[in-house]
Structure formats: C-alpha cells, structure tokens
Amino acid sequence: MKEFQEIFLRYHALLQAAVYGSAVLLILIGLYAVLMKKHLVKIVIGLSIIESGVNLLFVAVGYISNHTAPIFSPGYEHAADKMVDPVPQALVLTAIVIGFATTALALSLVIRLYRHHKTANIEQLKSLRW
C-alpha cells in the first residue's frame, strides 16, 4: 500500500487536473450552454451539466488517497481511520435529488412555454419586458 501512495504522489498533478479539471470544465461547458444557447431544452441541459460538475467536485473534494468507502462492512469495523470523508457524499445525495426536482420543474415550464408561445427559442419569448 505504500506503493500506492508513492505513485499517487508522483502523478498528483495529473490526477488533480483530471478530476478537478473535468469538474470545473463541466461547470464551464454547462454555463456556456446556459448563456449562449437559444433552445430552452438546451438551456436546461446546460443547467443539468452544471449540476453534474458541482456534484463531481463535491465527491472529489471528499476523496482521500488510499482510503476506502465509508462503510463499516464486516472486516472493516475498525477501519474508520482509513475511510474517505463521508460528509460531501451525504451532501451530494441531497444535491442530486434536489437537482432532479428542479430539472423536472424546469422541463414542465418548458413544455408550458412551448404550448403557449409555439416556440422554444428564448429570444422569441419577449412578452415580458423591463
């Protein structure tokens, strides 16, 4: 297991870039879709990609190299010191479910909007103005 730690440290920059980097990139890609895309469904896709990125960031922050999942299954009863941080995982559970709830609500609004306006382009929804 010492080996693991060594290799982990050697490639640490790469690993951090792979995990944090992809989470941050997901957030940016999603934000790009939200800001630049015109189709309502695309915008909601962007929102859900942002949520995915945030969730990944949560789990990544809680990870500890060479530690196991925070479950005291038989044989691991006294391995509390060798477990990853369970708090971000618990928070992410909440965040995923809440994310699904908001996505469903957003999509129902999209359906409503399309029924009324006959269009799914955000630039054509201009009945309300400043």
Partner: protein, 493 residues
C-alpha cells in the same frame, strides 16, 4: 410538549404532507387547515419572541448531536423579530386570500395552499437555521414553491416569468453549493458559528472567492442589482396573495440570509462597501424603472426591489442606528407592501386589467380600498405621521453618523422619484375623471379584516414607534455581536 423553534418547521411540513388526504375527507380542508397552522405559528411566535427578548437567544439541537456536529436552530433577537414578522404576515395573507376568487377553481386550490404554506415554512427555516447546507435546502424549498406559484395561472406570462426565475434560481443554487463546498474544504465544517470561528485562519484569496460565490447566489434571491431581473416578472405574474407573500416573507428571508452570511460568516467590514454600492444601484435603477411603469403590479414590484436596496444600504452602513433603521424598514416594507398588493389587486380584479390608466377615479367605486391603498402609499414614501417615516429617518441618521453626505443626498433624491410616481397613482385614483362602471366585486369580509389590520399596524407604528423600537435595538445589537453568536451556538448542550 415545550414550545421550541422546531415547531415552526415540522407542523407546516406534517400538514403539507397530510393535506392531500384531508382533502379527500373534507372538501375545504386545503383552505382551512393552512390557516390553523399559520395561526399556530403566530401563537408560538408570540411565546418565543417574549422568551427571546427576556432571556436571550433560544437555541435548539436537532437529532441530539450538539453543534457543530448536528444541525441547530437558533433564534437570536434579530431572527426572532423576523420570524415573528414572517408568521404575522403569513397569517394576514392567508386571511386575505381565504376567499380569493381566482384561485378557487377546482382541485388547484390544494396545490396552491400546499405551495403557499411551504413557501412560508421554507422562509422560516432560512431565518432559523444555524447550518450552512441546511440554509441551502431551505432556499431550494422556497425557490421551488415560488417558481410553481409564479407559474400558477398557467398563462403565457406566468410560465415565462417562472422560467426566468427558474434559470436564475438554478444558477444561484449551483453557486451557493460551490461557495459552501469551498468553505467546507477550508474549515471542515458546515455549522455557521464554527465557520465564523475558523474563518480568520482561512487564506484570504479563497475567502474572497467563496464570498463572491455566495453573494452571487444570495444576491439573486435577495433581488440585488443586476441579478434581479426575475423579480418584477415574478411579482406581477403571481397570484396576488403570493405577490404579497413575496414582498413580505420571501424578501425578508432572503435579505436575512444575505446579512447573516455577510455579518457572521465573513466580516461585516468586508461587505459593507459592496452592500452600500450595490444596494444604492439596486435602489436607483429599480425606482427609475418603477417610474416608467404602466402596470400597477410591476410598479409595486420595482418599488419593492428599491426598498430592498435601501435595506441593503442600511445594513452596509452597519452602525447601530442604521441597522435599527434597516430592521424597521424591513417590518414596514413587509406590512405596507403587502397592504398595497392586497388593495391593488382588488383594483385589478375589478378592472380586469393591470394597466394604471384604468385606475382613473376608482375611489368612487371602491372607496374603502382606495383609502387603504393611499394610506399604504403615504406610509411607504415616508410621510411623517406614518411608520415609513421613522425607518428612513433612522437610516439617514445612521449615514450622517458616518459622514456619508453623498449617500444621504442620493437617498433623498431617490425618495423624490418614489414620491412622484406614487403620488401620480393617488392622483389618478382620486382626482381623475372616472369612467362610469358599477363596482362588480366588493372585497370580501376576511380580506377587509386582513387589510384593516395591516393598516392599523401601520398607523400605530407610525404614531407610537416606541412600541417595538426597544426590541429592534436589542435585535440590532445582537446582529453586530458576532462573538456572542459563536459562543451561544458552540456552548449548546
């Protein structure tokens, strides 16, 4: 069972879960039961408010784990004041909306009442919680209910306003999560008191970024410029009792969250300049937009945003006088704006249009409602005998104490704009030539009772502000005393 802050949350929750069943047993359950719950909230507000003011902060541990390990509810004098305000306003709005005709169609009334009740429970949760992630959950509860209520009429404007709110609200929740996570990585905790304790040791760059994320998120909820484009649409498209709730409950809770995070988690000095500048911009732009509105509800909405901006400025000034003024302003704004939305919606209901041109000479058709509306208008622009006067005076006094002459001039000139457009409406109501149409919808008794009660509150607070000023001073002092907050929470057993 001893009365404790948790009653604010679990009673509405259990009721909301039960309403679909009760509806099957008794047809009007969905309308009556929330009222009982809100009345119960009002009763425990009175009890807890007295307890907090006499014996100091009331705290409650949830799930039996003392902070920082468990989630805790905390009622400082500051949050007790706001929680009581929210409970009172929620009950008044329920009373007003009890026979509200437009929401009475079919089975929708159940959806409406559940959402409305949970919006209030969520707002109370925001005010009471002492945990950062729990704050996020309650913000989501209010957000989802508010979106559904904005889109409640299912017309094209409603859905559009709802979608706008949805878009900004989702971004807000993502940013809030990022901010929370950043704080968690640095401090290893989610309890607000412990974060406040550990915050000075955190690297200042990370601290600023976390602060920016959280300010963006809470700024969206608290209608801060330039993130408030959802607000006028949401206010004007929602059913009228909901608009009143937005102004008197949701805005209060969102501003509370902003202030709690800014003052307790971070340093008050860190955000004071930001709050003053953003608050002033919010106020200026909102009042200018209100000036050019032709739609009554939109005008009221912009005026609401303006008032929130003024409250932000006052919290930014940050001395005791200004905070006293800000708290007074929050109470005034909640009561007065609710009254304006309530009476204004009777105009709209009678005229079947939101346009202000149609208001000409309506005082002959709805004399009492017109009287209440003008009372509200006079109070909100700060005419001397009414309560709005005192809050503005104290905020200006607070600014003067800090020698912010420019700010005083700015606030006064914005008040002038405000006065112009509000008095224009009054002019229309009383002095313009009326079109001869008979009044079709007289206000119902319960709505009249609710509106009269609010009007009485305005008048009494205006003539005799000492009634609450002692409490407000105490609340303001507690807000500034960060160490007391930390100690109270972390010494809980």
């Amino acid at each position: 069972m001893v009365i404790s802050p948790i009653h604010y949350i679990f009673v509405p929750l259990a009721t909301a879960f039960l309403i679909p069943l009760l509806q099957k047993l008794y047809k009007d359950a969905a309308r009556v039961v929330p009222g009982l719950v809100l009345f119960y909230n009002l009763v425990i507000s009175v009890i807890l408010f007295r307890r907090v003011m006499q014996h100091g902060t009331v705290t409650e541990i949830i799930a039996g784990w003392r902070p920082p390990f468990g989630i805790n509810l905390i009622m400082t004098p500051f949050s007790a004041t706001l929680a009581s305000l929210v409970s009172f306003m929620a009950f008044a709005v329920w009373l007003y909306g009890f026979r509200f005709k437009r929401v009475l169609k079919g089975g929708e009334v159940m959806y409406y009442e559940i959402l409305q009740l949970m919006m209030i429970a969520g707002a109370l949760g925001i005010i009471l919680t002492g945990d950062l992630f729990n704050l996020f959950v309650f913000i989501e509860i209010t957000g989802i209910t508010a979106i559904s209520l904005v889109a409640f009429y299912r017309d094209r404007h409603g859905a559009e306003a709802g979608f706008k709110y949805m878009l900004l609200g989702s971004l807000a929740s993502s940013f809030l999560l990022l901010g929370i996570l950043l704080i968690y990585t640095q401090t290893g905790t989610l309890n607000m008191a412990q974060i406040a304790q550990k915050m000075p040791a955190v690297d200042s760059g990370v601290k600023v970024i976390a602060l920016i994320f959280i300010l963006i998120a809470l700024g969206i909820e608290a209608e801060m410029f330039p993130l408030n484009s959802w607000a006028p649409d949401a206010y004007s498209q929602a059913p009228s009792p909901t608009s009143a709730t937005f102004a008197s409950v949701l805005a209060v809770a969102a501003l509370y969250a902003l202030i709690r995070v800014g003052y307790t988690l971070f340093d008050a000095r860190m955000i004071s300049g930001f709050l003053i500048v953003m608050g002033f911009l919010t106020m200026l732009i909102a009042e200018m937009a209100a000036f050019s509105q032709t739609d009554l509800k939109r005008m009221l909405a912009y005026s609401s945003i303006g008032q929130m901006g003024l409250a932000m400025v006052a919290f930014g000034i940050g001395n005791e006088t200004a905070i006293f003024g800000a708290l007074f302003l929050m109470i005034n704004h909640a009561v007065i704006k609710a009254l304006l939305f309530m009476s204004g919606s009777y105009f709209i209901y009678n005229l079947q249009t939101k346009k202000m041109d149609a208001l000409n000479g309506i005082h002959k058709r709805l004399p009492y409602v017109s009287f209440l509306f003008s009372l509200g208008v006079l109070a909100i622009i700060g005419f001397p005998p009414f309560s709005g006067f005192w809050s503005k005076l104290y905020i200006l006094y607070g600014a003067a104490n800090k020698n912010m002459l420019l700010l005083i001039i700015g606030i006064l000139s914005i008040t002038l704009i405000e006065m112009t457009y509000y008095l224009r409406v009054i002019g229309r109501i009383y002095f313009a030539k009326e079109k001869s149409e008979p009044a079709s919808h007289k206000p119902s008794v319960n709505a009249l009772v609710a509106m009269t009660a609010l009007a009485l509150v305005i008048i009494i607070l205006g003539i005799y502000p000492d009634l609450i000023s002692g409490y407000l001073h105490q609340a303001g002092r507690f807000l500034l005393d960060k160490q007391a907050y930390i100690q109270t929470v972390l010494s809980m057993r």
